[in-house]
Amino acid sequence: MNVELKDINKTFGAVHANVGINMKIPAGTIQGILGENGAGKSTLMKILSGFIRPDQGQILLDGRPVSIHSPADAIRQGVGMLHQDPLDFPPLRLIENFTLGHAGGLLPQQGEALKDFKKLAEQFGFSLDPEAYVDSLTVGERQQLEIIRLIWLGARVLIFDEPTTGISGPQKVNLFNALRILAKQGMTVLFVSHKLEDVEGLCDRVVVLRQGHLVGGTQAPYNTHQLVEMMFGKEITLGERSAGCAEEVILSLHEMAVEDYRLHIGRTNLDVCRGEVIGLAGMEGSGQNLFLRAVAGMVRTVGGQIVLDGQDLTGRSYHVYKENGVAFLPASRLEEGLVPGLTITEHVILAEESSGFFINWEKGRQLAQERISEFNVKGTPANTVESLSGGNQQRALLALLRDQLTLLLLEHPTRGLDIESTIYIWSKLKERCHQGTSILFISSDLEEILHYSDRVLVFFSGKVTAPLEASTLTTEKLGELIGGMGWPKSNGEGKPS
């Protein structure tokens, strides 16, 4: 089926997520869609797959303008989407997941469906046991199930959102073969990814999105430099940074390994100096969050040691880390960082080292007002945190940090903030560095990474680079690494499944 997107526009409040996107994808093509986090890829795909409606613009399938009301409507019209975390039912069996929602009478036609299931699985070379339970499957296998299901329901357009995150090497080969078969059968495949190697190896054509715009497109064979430039833009001026690690080492990671059900980060070594800023770069889900939480003591490591200021804190709980001067700021403000229902004053009081039994409300209010002014939070001490805008919530989170900290761990510290706020916040953070606090921060913004870090670690599918001097990094090199190119060939990627 031919797909055409005409002048698609979508705004969320102040954010213009898709700006006049025009695309034409002929049937039988594997179309790659590249872009950083926040470029607008997922918004566009959500529009095409029926989750959200565009503010403006048209979708045409085989030349006919269509209106897609819901995800179920989309599949009816032949558009199916495979989410990064497949929307399936873990406690149910594969064959049940396969048939759930399919139209029919009271009794399920189990026999027919089973036949179709087996036929489709065989066609793509997937080995799936229809009687197995989905929660026993790997991510790759869940993808395979979803693929045959969507085809069974009549999808002619398949959208894959970051499909190669968290699957093994052999499974990726299977997946790519399946996609090529699909394209040969006349399906249109949209492959959304940040992994340059995958896109270059698989897609017939590629478009690049940046900040809501479709900045360009090319066809195979590809020029990596060109792609990186389109994704990340031109060179960025570099900011001030400290001259290398002259001070003492404040944090030492020795052969640290940590894992969750999707990723395994193995044997990392890192020495962080007092007052240093380390940026953790990479696309979301590449392992930075896991890494940072391990350093905060929130996630148990499975190997190695963490030594903070001479003390071995391996295996200890987060509260012990906190007592030793570590602070962790999560990215999800209202879910993890702030308490909805409590005011700014109450947060400030909670975050402070409390002395005594009774709360000194007057002092608390004053302190809250000070912090509000210092961080320019648009709100009063009596405001509840959920009434603040996203950006102000971020500032409030930062405003809650204690004065003397050894190590500050920030998950996306300036997400949702405008340039001015970002600069202001960083000036405050740099102040702390001068006072001796070391900072590790995660960011999807290359400019931020390059501008403020002394050294950078890049994450990709659980792999971590050795610390790179920011002064020697170019935007292009960084972009390449984030996209998975330019890594030394060593141990396998991701978690074997």
Partner: protein, 345 residues
């Protein structure tokens, strides 16, 4: 800001009116004269000194359970097990009194120890629910429920077994304690200022605890967002457990009051539903301790007033319950409607 508060208040008043309309409809359905029913309830509370003091007597345990439940609600817990905690307190108090009644201690001391025993009993019973929840993953609603039944069974066992009345063992209760062990009352009435005093002290305590202490603030943080509270350094499970202990202690004191001041013995129904009623009061006042005292008084009045109904109008006294519960229901529904209506601001 101001307009918002008036709007909310308006909705709440609307809810109360709806509740009255509903209850009136129920009365009509039962073929009863609504106005007379309401009047007789009112009369039942204020018409005589006895009635007024009965209301104040019922106020005390209700104050205690309401305050206890405010603490567990602050921590985000549904302490349905509070009825069992009252019972456990009553059992411990009875046990202490039985042990000491023939000893050489003065009655004052015996009563004090009795109260302390009740406090401990309730706290232990609540701790059980807490352990089940924190270490066993058993939802505190079901854990508490099961423990309620167990507490009642234990009380029955004691009443019919080891603590049975000499002669005819009766399920109506143990032998009454001699008058000297009754909590001293005001002259000529059945109201003990001590019981009321304990209740009022606890209200004030809980009010300041929740509003003005670090403990209270941390507890609220745990209740509203345990993850964020944890990140801010609050030891979450310890706070949850402490909330259980505190509420259990208050419930235990309520049990102690029931034994020493109202029934003067252990009966199988000694908790008198004050636990659940406390939950209702807490829900009605939207968990704000400021309103605990007046609303609890109102509910206590309804309870006592309702006793008149079978006598005067041949109606079941559960009408009071209907009125109380309908009020809470409509406040809940109206609040929900208000939130949904004004959501897309």
């Amino acid at each position: 800001m101001k307009k918002n508060n008036w709007l909310t208040f308006g909705f709440q008043v609307g809810a109360i009116i709806l509740a009255l309309l509903f209850t009136t409809a129920v009365l009509l359905l039962a073929g009863a004269p609504p106005l007379q029913a309401y009047l007789s309830v009112i009369k039942g509370t204020v018409s005589s000194m006895d009635n007024v003091t009965n209301v104040l007597s019922a106020w005390a345990p209700l104050l205690l359970t309401t305050c206890g439940v405010l603490i567990t609600f602050a921590a985000g817990l549904w302490n349905i097990g509070i009825e069992g905690q009252i019972m456990a307190g009553a059992i411990f108090t009875t046990g202490a009194l039985r042990l000491l009644q023939n000893s050489s201690l003065s009655t004052g001391w015996i009563l004090v120890i009795g109260f302390l025993a009740g406090l401990v009993g309730g706290a232990i019973w609540a701790a059980l629910a807490g352990v089940l929840k924190i270490f066993g993953g058993v939802n505190e609603i079901f854990g508490g429920l099961g423990l309620n039944f167990v507490a009642t069974a234990f009380a029955l066992y004691l009443i019919i077994g080891p603590w049975a009345r000499p002669g005819i063992a009766s399920t109506s209760g143990t032998l009454m304690f001699p008058q000297k062990l009754w909590l001293p009352t005001l002259p000529k009435v059945a109201l003990s200022p001590w019981a009321l005093g304990v209740g009022l002290i606890v209200v004030i305590l809980v009010y300041f605890l929740l509003r003005g202490t670090h403990f209270g603030l941390r507890l609220k943080a745990v209740g509203k967002n345990a993850k964020a509270a944890f990140l801010m350094g609050v030891p979450t499970w310890q706070y949850s457990m402490f909330a259980f202990l505190l509420c259990g202690s208050f419930a235990g004191l309520a049990g102690a009051i029931q034994v020493t001041s109202v029934y003067h013995r252990l009966t199988p129904a000694i908790s008198s539903g004050y636990g659940f009623l406390g939950l209702l009061v807490a829900m009605l006042i939207n968990y704000q301790a400021l309103w605990a005292a007046p609303v609890a008084l109102f509910f206590a009045a309804l309870n006592i007033g309702g006793i008149q109904l079978p006598i005067v109008l041949k109606l079941d006294s559960s009408l009071s319950g209907v009125l109380q519960e309908t009020m809470v229901l409509f406040v809940l529904l109206v609040e929900g409607a208000r939130q949904q209506l004004f959501r897309k601001r």
